[in-house]
C-alpha cells in the first residue's frame, strides 16, 4: 500500500512536464520561454532585477561561460569525496591517490594541445595564467628585454597586465588589427625589436570569434627567437591546437570555457627550448615552482575530463555547431537586411557569431531579448559609455559599434533554441527599427553620414 503510493508519485513526477522557476534541477533544460505579452497569470514567471520573464531564458552566451558537462560533474563528484588528500603529501596513501588523479588530468590536458604532461602547470584560470606569463616572463628577463608586443583585441587581463608593465617602465606595442579582426603579419614583423621579450596574441577572440594565423605568427617568433604566448582559453577543445605546429612557448587555458568547472585553468610552459619565468605565487614550490599552493584536486580532475571529452568530441561538436551557426545566420538574414557579421567569416570559430543590426541600439535589443541570454558589445552595457574596444579596433563605425550582439553556440545548444532565438531577434529588431529615426531617414533616402548632429 505504502510502496504503491510512493511509486505512483514517482511515476507522476516523471511524466509531468516540469516547469519550475528557481528549482535547481532544471539548469540544463532551457525550456524555451514563450514571449507572451501577459505574464500576470503565469505561475512559472521569474521576476528578477525588475525584469519579468516567463521561464528560464535560452542560453546562448557560451563565450562567457559554458554549462558543466554532466560527465565532468560525475568525475568531479567522485573525486571530491574520495580524493580528499593533499596531492603534495608524499608520505601516505591519501596524498598518493590525489597526486595520481592530478597526474591523470595533467596527461589529459597535455594530449589535447600536443604537449608533454611535464609542461602543464595548473592554476586558477586563464586570467591567472595570462598574468603569470606576461608579468613573469618580462620580470625574469628585465635586464635585457624591455619590449612586449600584443594586439588591441586581447582579453582585458592581458591588456591590463601590459598596462601594469608599462607603469613599471617596460614598453608595449599594441598592434592594430585589420577590419576582419586578423593581425597584420607585416606590422608584427616591423614592430619586433632586439629587446622584444614576448609576443602575445590570442588564438580565438572571445568577442568576435576570429581565429588568428597562429602558425605564421609562430614562425615569425621562431625566426627572431622570441617567446610566443597565446591566450587559448576560447580555442582549446574547439579548434585543433598543437603547440609544436604553432611554435608557442606559453599557452593559457581555462576550464569553464570547455564545459569544465570554474576556478581552474592551466598554463603550458615549454621545456625545449627552455623558457623561464618568475612565478606570481611564491610558496612551497609546487607545480615546478611556477605556482605554489595546494591544487584543488576535484577542479583539476574536472578540467582533465573536460579536455579528454573535448578531444574526443571536437569533430562532432564542430559539425553540429557549424550547422547551428548557419541556421542562425541564414534565419536572421532571410528576414532582415542590414545585418553585419563582425570579424572574418572565414577565419572564425563557428560557435561565436557577433552580429550588428544597423539602426538598432544594442542595449535596447538586449532588453527586448530578455528571453535569450546573449551579450552585447554596446556602450550602455559596459560601465562607461564607450563601445567595446574590440569592435572599435576593427574600425567599425561608431553607430554600428553600439549595435552588436554576440550569440554563443555550444555543444548543448539545440535547433529549437536557435529557431526561437531567430524568431525573437527578428521580432525585436523589426520593432526597434520601427522606433528608430535613423532607419526612417535611410528609408527616406537621407544619408546619415552627412547630417550634422548636435552633440550633447
Amino acid at each position: 500500500m505504502t510502496s504503491k503510493a510512493v511509486f505512483s508519485t514517482i511515476r507522476r513526477s516523471l511524466t509531468k512536464p516540469r516547469g519550475g522557476a528557481v528549482s535547481r534541477g532544471h539548469h540544463l533544460s532551457t525550456s524555451a520561454a514563450t514571449a507572451s505579452e501577459s505574464y500576470a497569470s503565469d505561475e512559472h514567471a521569474i521576476l528578477m532585477k525588475g525584469v519579468r520573464i516567463s521561464g528560464r531564458p535560452l542560453y546562448l552566451d557560451m563565450q562567457s561561460t559554458t554549462p558543466l558537462d554532466p560527465r565532468v560533474f560525475d568525475a568531479m563528484n567522485a573525486s571530491s569525496i574520495y580524493d580528499y588528500g593533499n596531492p603534495h603529501s608524499r608520505t601516505h596513501l591519501y596524498g598518493w591517490e590525489a597526486e595520481n588523479a592530478v597526474e591523470v588530468a595533467r596527461i589529459q590536458v597535455a594530449k589535447l594541445i600536443g604537449a608533454s604532461s611535464k609542461e602543464i602547470v595548473f592554476l586558477s584560470g586563464a586570467t591567472e595564467a595570462n598574468n603569470t606569463v606576461v608579468k613573469g616572463v618580462m620580470h625574469f628577463y628585465k635586464d635585457k628585454k624591455r619590449h612586449v608586443i600584443t594586439t588591441q583585441t586581447e582579453h582585458k587581463c592581458v591588456l591590463d597586465s601590459c598596462r601594469h608593465l608599462q607603469q613599471e617602465g617596460f614598453e608595449v606595442t599594441y598592434l592594430p588589427v585589420k577590419t576582419d579582426g586578423l593581425v597584420d603579419l607585416e606590422m608584427l614583423r616591423e614592430s619586433i625589436r632586439p629587446d622584444t621579450g614576448l609576443v602575445s596574441v590570442m588564438a580565438v577572440n572571445n568577442e568576435i570569434g576570429v581565429v588568428q594565423p597562429m602558425e605564421e605568427i609562430g614562425r615569425i617568433c621562431k625566426e627572431h627567437k622570441i617567446p610566443f604566448h597565446t591566450d587559448a582559453a576560447q580555442a582549446i577543445g574547439k579548434i585543433p591546437v598543437d603547440v609544436e605546429k604553432w611554435n608557442v612557448s606559453f599557452m593559457s587555458m581555462s576550464g569553464h570555457k570547455i564545459y569544465g568547472p570554474k576556478g581552474v585553468g592551466a598554463m603550458y610552459v615549454r621545456r625545449r627550448p627552455r623558457v623561464r619565468l618568475e612565478p606570481l605565487m611564491n610558496g612551497g614550490g609546487q607545480e615546478r615552482g611556477l605556482r605554489s599552493g595546494t591544487l584543488a584536486t576535484q577542479q583539476v580532475v574536472g578540467f582533465g575530463v573536460a579536455c579528454e571529452l573535448a578531444m574526443k568530441e571536437m569533430e562532432y561538436d564542430e559539425k553540429w555547431i557549424k550547422r547551428l551557426q548557419e541556421r542562425l545566420l541564414n534565419g536572421v538574414r532571410e528576414k532582415l537586411d542590414g545585418v553585419v557579421v563582425n570579424g572574418s567569416l572565414e577565419s572564425r570559430y563557428a560557435g561565436n557569431l557577433n552580429l550588428s543590426f544597423a539602426y538598432v541600439e544594442g542595449e535596447s535589443l538586449l532588453m527586448g531579448l530578455k528571453e535569450v541570454a546573449v551579450s552585447s558589445g554596446s556602450a550602455c552595457t559596459s560601465a562607461s559609455l564607450e563601445p567595446s574596444y574590440v569592435l572599435r579596433a576593427l574600425g567599425v563605425d561608431e553607430d554600428m559599434a553600439h549595435t552588436s550582439i554576440r550569440f554563443g553556440i555550444g555543444r548543448f545548444t539545440t535547433e529549437e533554441e536557435i529557431d526561437k532565438a531567430v524568431e525573437l531577434t527578428v521580432k525585436q529588431v523589426e520593432k526597434l527599427r520601427e522606433m528608430s529615426p535613423l532607419y526612417e531617414m535611410v528609408k527616406d533616402g537621407i544619408d546619415i553620414k552627412n547630417i550634422q548632429w548636435s552633440q550633447h
Partner: protein
Amino acid sequence: MMIRQAAKKALGLTPCQSTPLSVGIFRSYHENVIDHCDNPRNVGSFDKNDPTVGTGLVGAPACGDVMKLQIKVDEKTGQIVDARFKTFGCGSAIASSSVATEWVKGKAMEEVLTIKNTEIAKHLSLPPVKLHCSMLAEDAIKAAVKDYKEKRVKTNSA
C-alpha cells in the same frame, strides 16, 4: 497520504518558497522603464512639412543616442495636441522619450519648456549613468518647440 507527501518532498515537487533573492543594485531596471520599452507610447512620425508640426532631432549615433520628437500644435490656442517620437538608443533613452511625449500632450508650449530632465529621471528612477538620456529628452522637447516657432515665423513672413 503521508507517504505520498513525503515522496513528493523527496522528489522536490513541493512548490518552492520564493527565497528572497538579493537584487543587485547595478543594472536594475525600474518597472516604468520596462513598461515604456515593452509598450512604448506614441511611436511614429508626423509629416515634417506640415506647418503645425515641430520636429526636434537631437543626439548623435556616435554617442549611441538619437531622439526625434515631433509635436502637433493647435495654431489658435498654442496647445500641443499630439506628439510622436522615434529613438535610437538604450532602454532608458526610449523610456525617457516615451515619457516626454506623454507629458507634452495637452500642454501649452511655454509650459513644456519647463519640463526638467530631473523630473523624467525621477519618474523612471534612472541610475546616474543614464541621466544623459533624460537630458536628451529635455533637449528634444526644446528643439521641437523651437522648430515649430521658426516655422511659424517663416510662414508668417512668407
